[in-house]
């Protein structure tokens, strides 16, 4: 076998293995962070095979695409982690099963462990600006939950 083909084979095998591991992880785990990591692993598996094909064809398009994927993945990671954080704030849990709004209206929700209920009244911790020279107007009690900034 030509060494280049053997090399491609190995890379592709590793890429497929990474993709498979990520897939299984995404499907089987319920922790949102772990699920997110699994997605990242799948992404890396795909990136690896792209890079391997690029090398095999002697075409830098594959490698270029991988760099793009890494950049996009970084952005995506930031957004995803922010989302996870917000979700965690709501339920105090990382369990994905706590979120099931996609279900059909009259289907019973899947719930194997009791979850802390969402508080009835949500109070967003609005950022408070420091006073700059002038003492800002305050609304007393209203400051805590005024409707808009």
């Amino acid at each position: 076998m030509h060494p280049e083909i053997a090399l491609l084979n190995d890379f592709l095998l590793v890429g497929a293995a990474l993709f498979g591991v990520g897939l299984i992880g995404f499907v089987s785990r319920r922790n949102m962070i772990v699920m997110f990591l699994s997605v990242e692993i799948m992404l890396q598996g795909v990136s690896l095979s792209l890079a391997a094909w690029g090398r095999f064809h002697n075409d830098f398009g594959g490698q270029t695409l991988v760099l793009f994927i890494i950049a996009v993945a970084a952005c995506e990671a930031a957004i995803a982690l922010a989302l996870i954080l917000t979700l965690f704030h709501r339920r105090c849990s990382l369990d994905i099963a706590a979120w099931h709004f996609l279900r059909e209206a009259n289907q019973p929700p899947f719930r194997d462990v009791p979850l802390p209920e969402e508080p009835a009244e949500r109070r967003e911790p609005w950022p408070r600006l420091p006073p700059a020279g002038v003492r800002p107007e305050t609304f007393g009690e209203k400051d805590k939950y005024r409707p808009r900034v």
């Binding site: 897939l23 995404f26 499907v27 089987s28 319920r30 699920m35 994905i96 099963a97 979120w99 099931h100 709004f101 996609l102 279900r103 059909e104 009259n106 289907q107 929700p109 899947f110």
Partner: protein
Amino acid sequence: MFDVQTLLILIPVLPLAAALATAALGTRLLRGRSHVPVVTAIALSFVASILLVFQLQERIDERAAQPGSSRAAGVEEVVARWSWINVPDAMPHPVDGRAETPGWGNFNIEVSLRADPLTAVMLAMVTCISMLVAIYSIGYMRGDPGYWRFFAYVGLFVFSMTMLVSASNFLLLYVFWELVGLCSYLLIGFWYERPAAAAAGKKAFLVNRIGDVGFVLGIFLIWTTFGTLDFGGVFQSVGQHAGDWRVTAICLLLLLGACGKSAQFPLHVWLPDAMEGPTPVSALIHAATMVTAGVYMIARCTPLFAAAPDAQYAVALIGGITALLGAVIAITQTDLKRILAYSTISHLGYMFVALGTGTLLGITAGMFHLITHAFFKALLFLGAGSVMHAAGGVIDIRRLGGLRRRLPVTYWTFLAGCLSIVGVVPLAGFWSKDAILLSLHDRSGLFGGGLFEILYLTTLLGVVLIDFYMFRPLFLVFHGQEKIPPEAGDHLHESPGSMTAPLVVLAFGSVVVGAYFEWTHGFAHFLSFTPSFECLAQSGHAAIDTADKWRVATIGSVLTAIGIAAAAMLYLGSGKAVARLARAMNVFGLYSLSYGKFFFDPIYNVLVVWPLLSVARLAAWFDCMAIDSLVDRCGRIPKLAGAALRPAQNGLVQFYALAMVFGVLVLLGIMLM
């Protein structure tokens, strides 16, 4: 100035344009002035019609002045503007040895108008009465929320009616026949908030449909028999079909159509109910013009009827039955407008009788009566409207009385109309009634004379009856003790000038029009140049014996005088005599029969309406139970399929991801295979 063709087109087009303008601008721009375009257009149409009559008269004079010309040739002018339908060779040539007409089988329907004396007379009458009624409506309809709508409908009606009488083929005639029916429906149900008016409009429409089925079947049969629908083609070739059963069938079917439109027995039931419409409409459509469309149609189809004597007897017989029936019912009714409606039915019956004689004398008499009747019946209706206007809408003659001094103009014009309609010498009604009697008398000696002998006697009986049913409302409403219904309030007054002026004009017409036509002999002479009547002129008829003429006129006048005297004795005196007479009549059940209008409505309810309603209910039940439930069950299939698939939507992210994985695997598998 204007030639015949231009006039013929102008007459219908002007009211149509006015109707469209009123319909478009009525709500915003015209409002209270909505009458202006329509009245102007109809007045112009009237002028055009009169010009048309004069131009035709000129041609007739020319024709008569030529020594060598044949007397029989009619005067006509056909204007064909465009071809509506043209299918060449639409029908195969006949195989059973029937004669072919020229142009056989070409289904060529042209929008063509014809001017001949019959059409010109009808046009002049229609536009004249329409103009007067439209002027009257200015006062009568003032303040009505549908003011503009009323005048738009009237304009549309005048357009349809003038097109009807000037159409030159059967299909076009049918189209406008239906259009006047539509206008009638719209105007009967003009006050559509009133359930009675809406029901009356519906009834008129449905009963007319029965007649129209006959008419349209007749047209189909004309097409298969003659291979053309053009008046000229059909009438020219009808001679070759003499004795053909098809011609008799065509005539009977056309008669059915005429019965529907002209409210003849047994389809007369819609006309009394049509009185729910505004009174000017009753005067215009349901007394003077639209209901005479049937008479016009039979007169127009004279060559067909001349070839089918049996159908002519049917026309005369139905006319005779209707004339007597209408007169008997009218005697006991209490609603002034309904009395006039039954009187209209009765008089249309006389016209049918006259047409049924099948002689030129009879047809001229029928058309003559049509014209005079239009004048005095429109006058009487408008007079009744004036009474209604003054009395706050009350029309029950038992609740009115002694209005003679309060409504002088209405009284005198109504009296003129009454004297004219009962046929007092020398008012219009006398001459036309006399002409009908004379034509019946003339015919009673000939073949089939037995029928006409009976019809002659029936008509004489009608001459007496009409005195009773016309003078009864006159005496009760205008004479005797003053009775003013509370609805009138304390402002019982004569109608405004726009209403009384047409009354005076119509009264003048009712008085003089008959004498004018009779003394100048202009009408009969003019009408005899209609191409449709050529066949009669050729057959010729014996000159009328002057002694006969005097005898008939004397008998008629004496009977009228006796009738008026008897009516005056009965109704001007105390009510006891009337009650006694009613009781005496009721020994034979006559009074109840008359008061119950011979129970046509309940009988039709049992025979026609209920069976149809039952079938409709059955159909509705079947629709609800069988068809609807089937559809519902079909609708449940996707619902069940959805319920089966619904657990898949459980909201778990992993589940969706797994489904996606399997989907991708399946796709991969397909691609690899």
